[in-house]
Symmetry: C2
Subunit: 200 residues, 2 copies
C-alpha cells in the first residue's frame, strides 16, 4: 500500500502559506503522510473571483489584523518574521522552479528558503537572480534548473496548474486536499492530516 498523501496548494506571496510551508513536511512526516507540493498563482484566482488583489489588501481592517496575527503565529511556531514591505509579492520565477521540480526531494527545502526570503528577510522574490541564489545555496545546478523552469512547457504547465486551482474551487491559500476533500488555511493543516490518516 502506498502512503496516504496530502496536496499542499500554496502561493509564495501568501503569509499563511508561509506558516504551512515551514511545518508541513515535518508534521506530515510524523503522521506518515506524503506531501505533494502544488505551487500556483493566487493572483489569477482572485481575479476570477472578482477581486483585484488579495482580500488582505481589499479589506483594510482584516489586513491590519492579519499582520498582527502573523506576528503571533510565527512566535507560536518558532518562525522568524518580518512584515514584507511589498504585499502581495509576485513570485513567478520561484513558482516555476517549484512546479518544474515538485517531485524532487529538495522541493520542500527550496520552498522554505524562498518563503523565508519573503517573510523573514523582506526580500523581493520575483526575479531570476533570487531563484539562482537559492538553488546555488542548496548546491544544485542552478542555471540548468532555471532554464528548464522558464521553458515554454513549464510556463504552460503553470497556467494549467492555476486553472486547476480554480477548477478545484480554491479561493485562497494555503489549501489542502486529501482526495477530493478540501481544507482551507494553515489552521486546518492538522485536521487535514488527521483526515488523511483516517482514510489510510
Amino acid at each position: 500500500m502506498s502512503a496516504p498523501t496530502i496536496e499542499f496548494w500554496f502561493d509564495f506571496g501568501s503569509p499563511y502559506s508561509y506558516l504551512s510551508a515551514m511545518r508541513i513536511e515535518a508534521e506530515a512526516g510524523r503522521a506518515g503522510v506524503a506531501v505533494h507540493w502544488k505551487p500556483f498563482l493566487l493572483g489569477p484566482v482572485f481575479q476570477a473571483l472578482g477581486w483585484s488583489t488579495s482580500p488582505l489588501v481589499l479589506q483594510k481592517e482584516k489586513g491590519e489584523y492579519a499582520w498582527k496575527d502573523m506576528q503571533r503565529q510565527c512566535r507560536k511556531y518558532g518562525l522568524r518574521w518580518k512584515q514584507p514591505t511589498g504585499f502581495p509579492r509576485a513570485a513567478v520565477p520561484p513558482t516555476r522552479v517549484a512546479l518544474s521540480n515538485a517531485e524532487q526531494p529538495w522541493v520542500g527545502e527550496f520552498c522554505r528558503r524562498v518563503m523565508q526570503l519573503n517573510f523573514a528577510d523582506d526580500r523581493d522574490i520575483d526575479s531570476a537572480e533570487v531563484v539562482l541564489e537559492v538553488l546555488r545555496g542548496m548546491g544544485l545546478p542552478a542555471q540548468q534548473l532555471w532554464e528548464e523552469a522558464q521553458s515554454e512547457e513549464w510556463r504552460g504547465r503553470l497556467r494549467a496548474q492555476t486553472a486547476a486551482a480554480r477548477w478545484l474551487g480554491i479561493f485562497g491559500a494555503p489549501t489542502f486536499f486529501v482526495r477530493r476533500e478540501m481544507f482551507w488555511g494553515n489552521d486546518r493543516l492538522d485536521d487535514a492530516l488527521g483526515f488523511c490518516r483516517a482514510q489510510a
Copy 2:
C-alpha cells in the same frame, strides 16, 4: 487579584460564533479565565465595511466551503449540526436578552440554547416567542426579562454595543479581546486563552 478575563464578541447568526459559544465557558474555566459575553449585531458592522451581507454569502466559493467546514468542525467538537435553511439569520430579540443579562450567571446557557436552535435545530430565532420559550425552559421569569430587554434603554445599549464593535476594529465574529489584543475566529480561542493566562 481578580481573575484574568476574555471578552467574547459574537452574533447569534454567525456559524463560527456557534462553535465558540458552545465551548468557551468550559475552556475558559479550565484556564482560570472569566468570560465576558459581548453579543452584538454583525449586520451593521458588515454594512459599515461596505458589505451588503455576510462574506459567506457574498463570496460563493468561500460560503460553500464554510458549510462543509462547519460540518467537520462540529464533528470535531462533538456538537450537533444542521445547516440553517436561512442564512444569515437575524436575531435581534435574543441579542437584546443576552445583552441585558450579560452579567447573569445563566447568560452562557441562554446563548448556547439560542445557538443550538439556529445551528442544530434549524429554527428561526428572530422572534420574541423563541426568546420566551428559551427563558421558560431555563425556569426564568421569561415575560419580565423580555419586557426589560426590549425597553428603550436596552435598545439604545445594543446600538452602542454594535458601535463599540466597530470602534474596536471588529470585522467578523467571533472576535476575542484580551485587554486590547484582538483575536479573530474560533480558531484563535485557544491562543487568546493562552495569551490571557500569560498576562495574569
